[in-house]
Symmetry: C2
Subunit: 300 residues, 2 copies
């Protein structure tokens, strides 16, 4: 469990922010009964399936580090979570990773069928832009900049590129740099985007935005390396999703290429690099530091 770091109780930080994000998401989505009810039930099923809300937490923590008001970052935190959830729904489909469980529950298509699951993902992706467009106006970062930031992180050169490269690498021996290409896009791009959006919502100066970019990039890479490690070392019950799938499907992972011990070292190095990027905040980035430490030590 998270520790108290420089006076920050991360457990409390995560609980309060998760609650705020859940409330904001609940208010921004059409109620489950809205016609056609199936799609709104399906969107809400995955959005409220117990996600850890790490991307929103990074977004809000970044806003805090830059001296912003977290409520200004909230629509952007929610937008990123909608994109994350859409990508999980589509990734779990039979035509992709073919997963039956996610966060301990049946995946969206197992409950609603493939057609509705595809449409629920589409609707959450679209909802993300509706949410982002409704954020406050930030003098340095107009809506145009915010929308471009999200569209590029989620687009065919980043998030989707990662998923495609990941699909294509299945069953193949790929070199380390190629694996890094996948991780940078599949995971790091959206985490980095979440962190940057938090800074933008605080109208941060360019130096702070660059620091948040380095931080998000390295935390994102560490996050995926750890995800791959946990897939090997934990049980399905511990993870809430099918463990050992990477090996079974011959997925390209760090443990598969460089082994477990070396993977752990890489994750720790990446986390150190993430910490180093936060120096510019002179101690005001306690929540970001605590989140990075939490992500490194997590067991699911």
């Amino acid at each position: 469990m998270p520790e108290i770091r420089r006076g920050l109780d991360l457990h409390k930080f995560l609980a309060t922010r998760t609650e705020a994000v859940n409330r904001a998401l609940d208010q921004s989505l059409p109620p489950a009964k809205t016609k056609p009810a199936t799609i709104h039930k399906a969107m809400r099923y995955s959005l409220f399936a117990g996600g850890k809300r790490m991307r929103p937490a990074l977004c809000l923590a970044a806003a805090q580090a830059c001296g912003g008001a977290e409520k200004d970052a909230l629509p952007l935190a929610c937008a990123v979570e909608c994109i994350h959830t859409y990508s999980l729904i589509h990734d779990d489909l039979p035509a992709m990773d073919d997963d039956d469980f996610r966060r301990g529950k049946p995946t969206n298509h197992k409950v609603f069928g493939e057609g509705i699951a595809i449409l629920a993902g589409d609707a959450l992706l679209t909802q993300a832009f509706e949410l982002a467009a409704q954020c406050r106006k930030f003098p340095r970062y107009p809506h145009q900049t915010i929308i471009l930031e999200i569209a590029r992180a989620a687009g065919s050169l980043q998030l989707i590129a990662g998923q495609v490269a990941d699909l294509e690498a299945e069953g193949k021996q790929i070199p380390g740099p190629e694996l890094k290409f996948i991780h940078e896009r599949k995971t790091s791009a959206l985490l980095c985007c979440a962190t940057r959006l938090g800074g933008m919502s605080a109208n941060c100066p360019p130096g702070q935005l660059a620091a948040l970019t380095r931080f998000g990039h390295h935390v994102g890479l560490a996050f995926q390396v750890i995800d791959d490690i946990l897939d090997v070392t934990q049980t399905s019950e511990q993870l809430g999703k099918t463990a050992g799938k990477d090996v079974a499907e011959q997925k390209a992972t760090y443990p598969a290429i460089v082994g477990l011990e070396e993977s752990r070292k890489i994750a720790a190095q990446l986390t150190d690099q993430a910490f180093a990027a936060l120096k510019i905040f002179k101690g005001r980035a306690v929540a970001l530091e605590a989140l990075a430490e939490f992500l490194l030590k997590r067991d699911r």
Copy 2:
């Protein structure tokens, strides 16, 4: 074929606008070779599969009617076409309408597989927002307004709602108003959005925007009624897609509910209502009028 209407050669109008839209789309998408090449090839395959570009044409014609420069409307015309193409790719999937042919060519998933087809649709939807965010700033309609316009038309209360209701109506006897609910969302919402965006790009006053809304709404409904009529009366070769599918799959359509003759009357009435909405433009909406007439008389 389209006629010359009040000095407007619609054939030439459509040819030049299609060329401009194709060029702009080509320039805005990553080249087909960009890594991972599969996704960019798949996006371009459907985007350049010979679509009639009716939504971009409506967008550009609306800009013209409002006295705007068409080049200002072009990114928005392209954004709407990306959304239209994404919706076709996803609708054609086996989990949805399960179509093997579209515009005389194999559908996206038949060429690239289901996984890539889903991701290509996702990428085009995301690309639409990237394109829209890059439009000029219009004094009355800031980027926030433009993005909200597109997100709402494409979201779970409009375009996606139509597709869900359409899926759920298969094999059922549904009443006329329910069919109108489907058509308004499945088809009319995005056509109306395209037309409104054209007006917005010309910084049109609210009265003109309201007229474009009425026009787009009625043309959209007429368009779908005619689509349903053609599915019954034309061959697969004429349509470039599988004809008679609506009947085979017991789809809810106007011909199925009120018969062919009554459907033709409804389409003509809707077109008349669309024309009536254009009065405010006092003859400057020739391209919109010609497009509406063309859509009514089309045979594919």
